[in-house]
Symmetry: C2
Subunit: 326 residues, 2 copies
């Protein structure tokens, strides 16, 4: 187990590891374009007076899993099961609370306002009438209308910026660009890091160029640890922001210990502890002062745990801003 | 490299490997229900007189990649990039040619009749008018209408059965059920195996129960080879069917040699050789007698390589039925 990092002196080795990760990563396509989008988005939002008096508040919500390519001309990769539901649902509640949201999501993953839609909405929500007019299945009409109108409204109002990623390389490179654009907001920015980021990867320079051949015998693979980017983000890239990270475990016994450790090691403001089997019902919010269990309102159909969770985050974020500004 | 199997004497070890793979696999949910669906589907289709005189002809099209779980309570898995486009498009052309299709597809992968839709059809094809009526974007109207009507018609006519899978365990178990249901059709059945099936897996009994912990240091993984199920399918499960398998490589230099080897080793009737970078433009069809390059009609907008490919398959399948029946 690593020692707890000191906020002001990030170990030289950690920074070197991160630098060499980025140097060896395949270059991000559209990096310049993404930077411009981010700048415009942040500029517009800092000039807004804000709904509910939440001027300047921008949250970066990350969502879904990162892939780890096993070959350069990628045929195979390691992935994880994250659907991106947590991040997509949380985005909706942050928007409702008056925040602007940068939604950094896995390509093909869940989208905000779409969680109630069936798996294949086009084929399941629409029918073609005899006169060959497309009709909406009345069962799904309200859900479909809400998904389309709310997404379009948020994007048109300039309060939602959606940026997709697939690989661990893309994710960390875009996250760095986002941190650069939010750095100037100081404590008004939140990083709500719900994405399931790979712990292990194959360094680009040691990766097989072509598809790994299935000759006889088993396949042995050695994966390197992904450098602990969270330390660098927290301490170097945007040190004044409010940080929330997530711990998912299938083994309940180690969950809280690991959440506590992450809180201290990475100096998070909140760590959200999820157990795989109950994560849609409840989460435990771990802070320096307390552990709060947040449950979805089970008396209400369709109520999601992200609703009270984001409420709690917004409350603690407001207190943090006050403290920093005082 | 293994020796070429003898058709009549499948090595004892191959059968043992397959048996132990199935014995150790997590049981398939809905196995009984899937069997009933398959039986009904095949019964209905063998009683049809067939469009274009293709009575009794059923093709099992497999599509998309299988995942390999790395943990029992699966958080991480190995996947591959297959979109499922080849299988989805081919399904359309087989239906047009008068075949009934069992479409064994990766959950979330491409669907027949949907290849021209944008990534997120619901949000990109529809708008909400001021009077809060959902309207179709005229740009996409024809594509959307076609996708919905043709899919619904094929399912309603009972000529398309869609069965989803995610893991390698599900895929191989469902494929075995399909082979049992098609065995009775003899040479009228085709297996068109376009799915990208994992070569390596972690045997269920040796799999970590919980999420693999990222302690210090690199992660070493040993993956076992997936038993060569294709031999057992070909020789034992449905020995009279017509077999087409696919070889995808990124390295052009080894592609044809590997396709030839697969043709002989697994006694395929056709092997479709794809190179990753050009696979949407052309494929090489390898048979015992010849190598035919099949190209999409580049003079026609939207023409797909699957159109002439399926035409060729249907032609050779007809010849095969004649030969067997003679």
């Amino acid at each position: 187990m690593d020692a707890v990092d000191d906020a002001d002196k990030l170990p030289e080795t950690a920074i070197n590891e991160v630098t060499s990760f980025f140097e060896s990563a395949p270059p991000l396509t559209d990096a310049a374009e993404t930077e411009i989008c981010l700048k415009e988005f942040v500029d517009r939002n800092t000039s807004l007076s804000g709904i509910n008096g939440k001027a300047n508040r921008v949250v970066c919500v990350t969502s879904g899993g990162t892939t780890v390519p096993l070959e350069k001309q990628c045929v195979r990769y390691i992935d994880n099961f994250a659907s991106g539901h947590r991040g997509a649902a949380s985005t909706e509640y942050f928007l409702k609370a008056g925040y602007s949201v940068i939604f950094l999501y896995r390509r093909g993953g869940c989208q905000p306002f779409c969680s109630l839609l069936p798996d294949d909405p086009l084929l399941e929500c629409f029918t073609v009438a005899d006169d060959s007019i497309i009709e909406m299945d009345p069962l799904h009409a309200e859900t479909v209308k809400k998904a389309i109108t709310e997404t379009r409204a948020a994007v048109a109002d300039g309060i939602l910026l959606k940026l997709p990623f697939t690989t661990i390389f893309e994710y960390l490179q875009i996250l760095q660009l986002i941190s650069a654009s939010l750095r100037g907001l100081g404590p008004s920015a939140i990083f709500y890091l719900a994405a399931a980021v790979s712990d292990f990867y194959v360094p680009w320079e040691s990766m097989a160029l072509h598809k790994i051949q299935s000759a006889s015998g088993p396949l042995d693979m050695r994966l390197a640890q992904v450098p602990k980017m969270l330390s660098v983000l927290r301490n170097e890239w945007a040190p004044m922001a409010f940080y929330i990270s997530f711990k998912l475990e299938t083994d309940k016994d180690i969950l809280l210990a690991k959440a506590d450790m992450a809180l201290k090691k990475y100096k998070m403001h909140m760590v959200i502890a999820n157990e795989l089997s109950t994560r849609k019902e409840e989460v435990i919010v771990v802070t320096e002062q307390e552990k709060v269990t947040v449950r979805r309102d089970s008396t209400q159909a369709g109520a999601e745990v992200e609703c009270p969770l984001v409420e709690l985050v917004v409350d603690r974020h407001s207190a943090y801003i006050k403290k920093v500004d005082a």
